[in-house]
């Protein structure tokens, strides 16, 4: 499977499209194909914990065979990073736990983003013996607008700072992010006009501004056709017509959305059927993972 040959999958999309659910399902699918997989959520409100039904914190946790999860938050990421640079805990305490320094660090551009992204990319590079410790790292990235600025942080720093430790850090991070063999984006969308427009804009922005190509579009909440024109005619006059018509329209919109995405994005489109049962948490992730498996394994 070409998608899982990438080392870092950046999952993003407009808020409310099911980005975290798709990211966790994708990671689950990856783990089940036998790849050691790590999923990182970025400073989020513990979505992964409720999606996997297991506690996920700032320390890497095994949530399934082959699948580790972590919630990357700025405070812990900053401490880990500073410790790597400074080597001694006492120095870290004296400097970084100083009230005024903390205050000050907030305003050095993008320090929080740098250290969070740095942690994710560190795990991409991390080795166990000669082999990568994690073969696939899935990043549940911030939503649309924030994703672009988040992923651009290394480049912005390279433009802002001429030399020094931050520059060196930013450099390897940027290089890893824009390496097409390493990194690819997975965009989550919904079968509606505006979300599709935003996905197209996001794909364009990622490709041109951040230099990350999209390897997969996941069209979540897909409605397959059920009624035809004749059905609607037979429903005419019935109180059920609006329900039938609604379903018909949604199926039509789903198909149109899929066609638009397939035409305009140079990546396969995987559809995930709309879920009606009150499934959330692990059961929902399983369902989405199954749908992804089906779509990815039938892809050319």
């Amino acid at each position: 499977m070409r998608l899982l040959d990438k080392r870092l999958l950046v999952v993003t999309g407009k808020g409310g499209v099911g980005k975290s659910a798709v990211a966790s399902a994708l990671a689950l699918y990856s783990a089940r194909t036998g790849k050691r997989t790590l999923i990182c959520e970025i400073n989020a409100a513990d979505r992964l914990a409720s999606l996997y039904g297991k506690p996920v914190g700032p320390e890497l946790t095994l949530v399934e065979d082959n699948l580790w999860a972590v919630n990357v938050r700025p405070e812990e990421a900053l401490r880990e990073y500073a410790m790597m640079v400074l080597k001694f805990k006492s120095v870290y305490r004296a400097v970084f736990e100083n009230r005024l320094v903390r205050y000050f660090l907030r305003f050095i551009p993008s320090v929080a983003e740098m250290v969070m992204l740095g942690k994710v990319l560190f795990h991409v590079k991390e080795l166990q013996g000669a082999a990568p410790k994690y073969e696939v790292v899935v990043m549940d990235a911030p939503a649309t607008g924030h994703a672009i600025s988040f992923l651009q942080v290394p480049q912005v720093l390279l433009d802002t700072v001429a030399t020094g430790p931050l520059w060196t850090e930013a450099k390897w991070m940027r290089d890893l992010l824009v390496d097409p063999k390493t990194t690819a984006a997975v965009l989550v969308s919904l079968p509606e006009e505006m979300p599709v427009n935003e996905t197209l804009e996001l794909e364009d922005a990622l490709r041109r501004k951040v230099k990350i190509a999209t390897a997969l579009v996941v069209l979540n909440g897909y409605t397959a056709p059920r009624f035809d024109e004749r059905d609607l005619t037979s429903l005419g006059g019935s109180a059920l017509l609006s329900l039938g018509k609604n379903h018909f329209d949604r199926a039509q919109l789903s198909l149109d959305s899929r066609n638009r995405l397939e035409r305009q994005v140079a990546a396969p489109v995987a559809t995930v059927p709309r879920l009606y049962e009150e499934t959330r948490g692990p059961a929902m992730v399983e369902r989405i993972a199954d749908a992804l498996a089906k779509a990815l394994e039938s892809a050319p």
Binding site: K14, G15, G16, L86, V95, I108, A112, M194, Y276, E278
Partner: protein
Amino acid sequence: MTPPGPPAKPPPAPPRPGVGGKIAPSNPSATAKAPPPAAPQNPFCASLKEDRVMVAVGAGGVGKTTVAAALALRAAVDGRSSLVCTIDPAKRLANSLGLKELGNAESLIPEPRFQAAGLTPKAPLRAMMLDMKQTWDELIERLAPPGKREKILQNRFYQSLSSALAGSQEYIAMEKLWQLRTQRDYQLIVLDTPPTAHALDFLDAPNRVLDFMDNEAARWLLTPALAAGKVGLKLFNLGSSYVAKTLTKFTGVETLQGLAEFMSSISGMNQDFRERATEVRDLMADEKTSFVLVTAPGAERLDEVVRFHTLLRQSHMRIAAVVVNRVHLPPTFEAMGSLNRLEPQLRRKMATTVDEVSALAHADAEGIKQIKKECEGTPLIEVPRFDLDVHDLTSLWKVSRFLCGDEAVARA
């Protein structure tokens, strides 16, 4: 309504209160007024008649912009000159209002658009889309001493402050709101805020920006440098050199240099920023300012809306209502009753559809129950999910009918 006078002279800056600090309203007549009698049934009826500012808040993708536009439309139709100020670059709002696009200037919604929707507004409706960067630049141009303007606008730290610093979008939206409120005579301004993942970004924005402007930390780290007018080796000669030096290992010298330069170029403006931030906070806490918390019905949104609600409450902001947008309605009994009259194949397909729609409606109803429980004391208004996207004045009007209680989602 009396048009607002010239910008009120700010009260002497009090010691900087936290987000939770209650500040006396800047409008003295508002304090003198007796509290309104028993709460009216629909919270927006009163707000749309009385409030001068309504701020729509909530996470991204819940329909905040639509709700903001529907409220402004309603106020204009009912006779108050209104402005909806959005940050959503989506063209659709512009289109639905009958404009080719929205810019940083206020545009009047053309008459024919109203006529096409069968509406006769009693007062004008205007709309604008906030350009963050331009508003920041305007602020600097107004506040910075002439000789320093260009230097500030070119500084990389300014670029980061005006675009990347968390909270800066929220801050500048508030700044624009303050300008519009004090310099224009709209009877109602509805502000659609940037989608925030963390409620705190929004409420904390003035503090964060003030912190940035505050020289305490910079003075401590960089004083000798600032005094010398440039940062050089002197950075390491001060009492705090151990800290400064270690920090440099982390950020590089240049970063601290650039920051020191920026701090020194804006040092004359601190007082202005501080006063303005105080005024913005006063405006937020004003009796004629209300917040509209917009959310979607799903249980996955519950935590967000509760967090927002709690924070607004703690900060003494008045919440007009929680709007639960795009609620799925259950199939009618009549619809379910006519299932039996269908031929078997169609009946099977239709029965599945009825089950699906019922499941969605049920899940939404459960979510709403939870929101009601968690946000007790705040009115909750449901707006159904319409079959088609909200994309013209007619549909915006329909949304406003639900917001104002002309129509309501029936709940058993």
